[in-house]
Symmetry: C2
Subunit: 409 residues, 2 copies
């Protein structure tokens, strides 16, 4: 049956929830993750939310024996949180920072400060070129009224485009990460359809772990129970996706998730469950066509659906740009008015009552503060409008291409 | 001599200097550029500094007949300013925004607001796949003390990496743009060495135009004469670079630059001269190796030199991060002190003199302003440190790879 030798690759993916000062029992958990990775020797480890470079360095030291190659992707104010550990040499890396990633003033959500990105590492294992991508998309804080959906869709689109454009010389493409999307969400369908990536959970011959492959489950002591109320089994938002590009086939022999506490202790590794896939990669005599081209019409529908959502975001961003601009103009007018009043008083034109210096100063500073803030907001929303508009354009181009060349991969 | 048919491709590149409200006689010049492009039919037009979408739309309408395909790259607050017009269909596009691009507080330079990027358009002409890149790197405001050199080097590195990773399926790679570097600068050597791109000016069989191929010349009535004092002939900072990847050869038959005023009028098209290349592309029986691998040792020297400059920038950014952090702490202390004084006075603990409300308020607002500003600066420089550090790491990885695998392309 096996004419060509099969390469067996064990891949580990985990959102580590290692935010300094905020994540509970962080150092203990990072130690546990390191111990487990050293014990269960995987070939490839894709981690997210390793925000502290110290945690990365500690892991690197601990794992130097079994994973001699590693890379930490730096970006944004806090960092990308992405890193890769590998048994095989990393030949090259590239980082792509998503153009939209939430709002700087949504401090309680904080995504903006993290410089959400996709990291690429190129590796050659047994003569097979692997393009391995690790990413973390914008969180979904409220499913019913998801204000970040357009931003997450822009990210899913940029992720798909980045993978398509950078993977043309690869034999096998792997993507692991916390995509913050449910399996049937439009962003996942867009990503899978536009790249041809397949979902390890759906393709796995054997599965073991949380029901339905969920990775955010109510049983985990660190998850926010209220957020999971509508989903008593939990949700699946962490993925390992893959495809073979040239004359190779990839099959998922086994998929596992962790289920609650780490062995021998009372806490789990993270607020997410880890995803572990065993992949079998084999050279096959004849090249397999890219997955694109099989369901072009369905793909066009998905792109159109995503484009509609991006359009909704675009109109919201335009409204916000308009109102912040108007606020800036009003603050400027108030300042001018005050300047005129002050000049008038200085010239002795005002009434004989004493000039209310204190409240005048306070008002001026307030107006100045509002002016600075609203100009900042206006600039930010201008940028947001540009990026949403650009994505809408690109999706339109993709739709046209899908309709014109129905059999092109 | 010519067994295979030769594809002749005429490429036009120009930094249009079309900044709304700032560039002199902008609309007139954009009209002139459009007229000239319509008259001299090129195959591919790469423009920079088309900041106004309206200018792009006007050009698109005017050029619809001879250049039916076009793309405008949106990014940043003002935009990327990059656009492409083409006689041949554009199949796909991708935009990569550089991670560093000057400082938001350097308002007089303004680069930060432009979202400097590299745009990629993929085209298929006569069965040959072209990856065409257009870009504009950070300006050099003072050559003797170039504070932006580390940022420009990060951009040159990211540009080279982006081209390498995205061009693997291309037959021919073209890059056009204002690189803001002299031909012998380390950034250009890095870009050329790391990608294998060749300089159309150096390779051209025939050349016609400004002496030494200069594109920023004192004769141009819009250039800043004082900046060009050390260079009486001008400088060459706009380039068309190319290479063939698979079994093709590219030759530059002719290179031209514009020389001063546009025909029939008293002004030139822009403050830069345009670069126009005629390329001959031919399939050749045996594949030509990538240019990499021929001068590995020289390349390692260039990467090491660039890495040193990035390191200098890293240490400067670390100092700025430290001093802005210290300023933030001092401002916070002052605010706390004021809060204590105010509380003391309210509790009747202060001296019997009247409380100086106005100066107290002014001081508090000043401290608050300094706090907000310095926190912003601290965050920005933290990001800068991360990106410079990341680039240093990547360059180190490249150096290691060059030393370990001296014949790998």
């Amino acid at each position: 049956m096996e004419r060509e030798p099969t390469l067996r690759l064990r891949v580990f993916d985990l959102n580590c929830w290692a935010i300094r000062y905020l994540s509970k029992r962080r150092q203990e958990r990072v130690r546990l993750i390191g111990d487990m990775l050293r014990r269960d020797s995987f070939d490839l480890v894709l981690l997210q939310e390793v925000w502290s470079e110290q945690d990365y360095s500690d892991l690197m030291v601990k794992l130097a024996g079994c994973y001699p190659f590693s890379h930490y992707f730096r970006s944004g104010v806090i960092g990308s949180g992405l890193c890769v550990f590998s048994r095989f040499p990393i030949l090259d890396t590239l980082l792509y920072q998503y153009s939209l990633n939430g709002y700087p003033y949504m401090l309680q959500h904080g995504d903006w400060f993290c410089g959400k990105s996709v990291g690429l590492v190129v590796m050659k294992i047994s003569g097979i070129i692997f393009n391995v991508y690790v990413t973390h998309l914008h969180a979904e804080y409220c499913r019913e009224k998801d204000a970040y959906l357009p931003h997450r869709l822009v990210q899913a689109w940029e992720l798909a485009q980045f993978i398509r454009h950078t993977s043309k010389a690869a034999d096998v493409v792997l993507l692991g990460g916390d995509l913050n999307m449910h399996p049937e969400d439009v962003g996942i369908r867009l990503l899978r359809g536009w790249t041809g990536l397949r979902d390890a959970f759906a393709e796995a011959k054997h599965f073991e772990g949380c029901k339905n492959g969920c990775t955010l489950v109510p049983d985990n002591c660190f998850t926010e129970k209220s957020e999971l109320l509508p989903f008593p089994l939990g949700i699946r938002i962490d993925y390992i996706l893959y495809k073979a590009i040239s004359s190779f086939t990839v099959k998922c022999e086994e998929l596992k998730t962790t289920t609650g506490p780490a062995p021998g202790v009372d806490i789990p590794f993270s607020d997410h469950e880890a995803v572990m896939a065993t992949l079998h990669i084999q050279r096959q005599p004849q090249a397999e066509g890219a997955t694109l081209g099989t369901a072009e019409l369905a793909l066009a529908d998905v792109v159109a659906e995503a484009r509609t959502e991006v359009g909704v975001g675009l109109r919201a961003a335009q409204r916000q740009r308009y109102s912040s601009g108007r606020m800036a103009v009003l603050a400027l007018l108030l300042l001018l008015l005050q300047a005129m009043a002050a000049l008038g008083t200085l010239a002795g034109l005002g009434p004989d009552q004493p000039f209310p210096k204190l409240s005048f100063c306070l008002l001026a500073f307030l107006a100045l503060g509002v002016l600075v803030l609203s100009v900042g907001l206006h600039l930010f929303h201008t940028m947001e409008v540009k990026m949403l508009h650009g994505t809408e354009d690109q999706m339109w181009m993709a739709l046209r291409a899908l309709q014109e060349r129905p059999s092109d991969g």
